[in-house]
């Protein structure tokens, strides 16, 4: 397995401008992420709102300027590539947005939207009907405008548009969270089929653990801009090590309701707590969690990494 996409120490800091009543501040949306997506793999990225999932996805695609760290794609460092040099690479890495309604230009028909990437790269337009068929859209949809489609159909159009360039990597930023469950299942089926047929690699972002478990073979859990646990999805979601992962799993509503593990809510990323960022909400927090720097992401077992002081060797083996 070779690495299709790799990030080391990736960080993004947003600075906010000062206004009359607010001082300038900075938000570390992503704070040092190491990540590896093998060719043909599907990596899930989970975490609460605002933890930096989308920012990370955009960093990896070089859609926002990188503050720190390196990104390599197909073994080539793309961190400092200029937009023009990046353009040919873009064909092989595509993005699917959370909200399909907003991701389609309201003035373009389905045909125009899907043809747009082909036109940009000067490719053959005749594949259009084929593309639509692949995502399960009838050809009569070609001349419709986005507002005449249902949510699921719009998301299919987005997927068709991304596939048009025959990418190797698909970054999916919560592709189903705007959809109904019945439609979500349809889209997940489609994604699974595509991956099997085309050998695509997925970076799949979601806050729905069950969906991630369905789609991905590996999962990374993010908290406040950091990855706190990473490993094979069956292991991470079946036997979580990090207290945060456990809290997440325990919070998923099920018949009869489980116990509440995490107190409070995600802290403001503009003023992250010292020490382990999770400590204020952690039921197991100790003195050492409250001070010093955030615990590092360590390999605690083969293919399993956790960033927690409390997870030690005793779990290994």
């Amino acid at each position: 397995m070779t690495a299709l996409l790799q990030a080391t120490g990736l960080a993004k800091t947003y600075a906010t401008r000062r206004t009359a009543f607010r001082a300038a501040s900075s938000v570390a949306a992503v704070a040092g992420v190491d990540l590896l997506l093998p060719e043909g793999g599907a990596l899930g990225l989970v975490g609460e709102s605002g933890c930096g999932k989308s920012t990370l996805a955009r960093l990896l695609l070089r859609l926002v300027p990188v503050s720190d760290g390196r990104i390599s794609f197909e073994g080539r460092d793309i961190t400092d590539l200029a937009e023009s040099a990046l353009r040919p690479l873009r064909r092989r890495m595509q993005l699917i947005h959370q909200n399909p309604s907003a991701a389609l230009d309201p003035r373009l028909t389905v045909a125009a939207s899907v043809a747009e990437p082909l036109r940009i790269h000067g490719l053959d337009l005749s594949r259009l009907p084929e593309l639509l068929a692949e995502v399960g859209l009838p050809a009569e949809m070609l001349h419709r405008h986005p507002h005449e489609l249902s949510g699921g159909q719009k998301q299919r159009v987005c997927i068709a548009r991304a596939l048009a360039l025959e990418p190797r990597l698909l970054v999916l930023d919560e592709p189903t969270s705007a959809l109904d469950v019945s439609v979500q299942a349809q889209v997940l089926e489609l994604l699974a089929g595509l991956r099997a047929r085309r050998g695509l690699s997925y970076l799949f972002i979601s806050h729905n653990l069950a969906v991630v478990r369905q789609v991905c073979d590996r999962v990374a859990v993010m908290y406040l801009g950091r990855i706190v646990e990473e490993g094979a999805s069956a292991e991470v979601l079946g036997a979580p090590l990090h207290p945060y992962t456990r809290a997440l799993l325990a919070s998923v509503p099920r018949l009869g309701a489980g116990g509440v593990v995490a107190r409070g809510e995600p802290p403001n990323p503009a003023a992250p707590p010292p020490g382990c960022p999770f400590h204020p909400r952690c039921p197991m927090a100790e003195e050492r969690c409250r001070a010093g720097t955030a615990p590092l992401l360590r390999e605690v077992a083969r293919g399993r990494r956790v960033a927690c002081h409390l997870v030690g060797g005793h779990l290994v083996g």
Binding site: Q153, V181, L209, L255, E265
Partner: protein, 328 residues
């Protein structure tokens, strides 16, 4: 147990340029006092419209009640005069909403908003309106009762200074201001993170238990409903398709739509089962399908389904279903 709320043959349409959309098409359901009822259904099936109907909050026009009755404590809400409806809001029926961020007024302090709600309740009750100071004291205690620390500081703050969970708790506290009997919660946790969602659901469960509230909880997340409600009503395109106790529904759904819905939810604990989607998408309510509204997506549909609207019938004790083909 007595019925607190009875909805009978309730039809409501929204008029627009494109025609009239039959958004609610003969809703029939009953909530017993002190019970918990969940309503699930895909987006746009009319859950929120139904909830808002209980408080007379649907804007009219475009909303138009076509027929039916909504009896609350024996009185028909649809024929109430605006003043009487106002007196009911918050005092007998309270509501909490989906997105706490947009349901709090961004430019007024929490104190002002709570005081206004409390004093509004006083006015509606017809009694003396308490002074702002007294109202504030009451607000203080309400905030405490929804588990918010440091209510005094909270009262002085503005919505944007609170986190999502806190805002939803504030909204719940405001809903409690009139000491209502029925609490309508329209997707109260959809905008929240899972961890916070669990906390808020626990709070609602606690309030229902401690205050003996009747709860009508709306969600599109079966998990949420299952965790909080004893009975579930499944809606599809403005109709009730199934009404059953929670466990029975989850384990043995009778209506094809309910079956499809349950099969579409991925289960974290059983990843080996691949969720299956329901083919097609919800119909336009401007020109809904004839007969059973689900029939175009249903694999069991027959000519009868297209021709004849199935009635909601009691198939098993305590279980009602609207399908020509449902069998116990």
């Amino acid at each position: 147990m007595t019925a607190l709320l009875e909805i009978e043959e309730y039809r409501l349409a929204f008029d627009s340029f494109d025609g009239s959309a039959a958004v609610l098409d003969g809703i029939d359901l009953t909530i017993e006092a002190g019970s918990t009822l969940g309503i699930v259904g895909e987006s746009g099936c009319g859950k929120s419209v139904l909830a808002r109907s209980l408080l007379g909050l649907n804007p009219s026009p475009p909303a138009r009640v076509a027929s039916g009755q909504i009896r609350f404590e024996g009185r028909d809400l649809l024929t109430l005069r605006p003043a009487a409806m106002r007196a009911l809001r918050g005092r007998r029926i309270a509501m909490i909403f989906q997105d706490p961020a947009s349901y709090l007024n961004p430019v007024l302090s929490i104190a002002t908003q709570m005081e206004d709600a409390i004093r509004g309740q006083d006015a509606a009750a017809g009694g003396a309106v308490r002074a702002r100071r007294a109202a504030r004291a009451h607000a203080h205690s309400l905030l405490g009762s929804v588990g918010l620390p440091d209510p005094a500081r909270l009262l002085a703050s503005y919505p944007h200074q609170l986190s999502g969970g806190m805002r939803q708790r504030v909204l719940i506290a405001m809903a409690l201001a009139g000491d209502p009997t029925l609490l309508v919660a329209d997707e109260p946790t959809t905008a929240l993170d899972v961890t916070v969602q669990a906390q808020v659901l626990a709070l609602i469960a606690e309030l229902v238990r401690d205050r003996g509230l009747t709860l009508m909880l709306i969600s599109h997340d079966l998990g949420v409903i299952a965790a909080a409600c004893a009975r579930i009503v499944v809606m599809y395109a403005g109709t009730v398709v199934e009404d059953a106790p929670t466990r029975a529904l989850l384990e043995h759904p009778l209506h094809p739509y309910a079956q499809g819905l349950i099969a579409a939810v991925p289960d974290l604990d059983r990843p080996e089962i691949t969720p299956r989607g329901i083919p097609g998408s919800i119909p336009s309510l401007l020109s809904p399908p004839s007969g059973c509204r689900f029939h175009p997506r249903c694999d069991r549909a027959t000519a009868r389904c297209a021709a004849e609207k199935p009635l909601l019938r009691e198939l098993l004790p305590g279980r009602r279903v609207a399908c020509h083909h449902a069998t116990p």
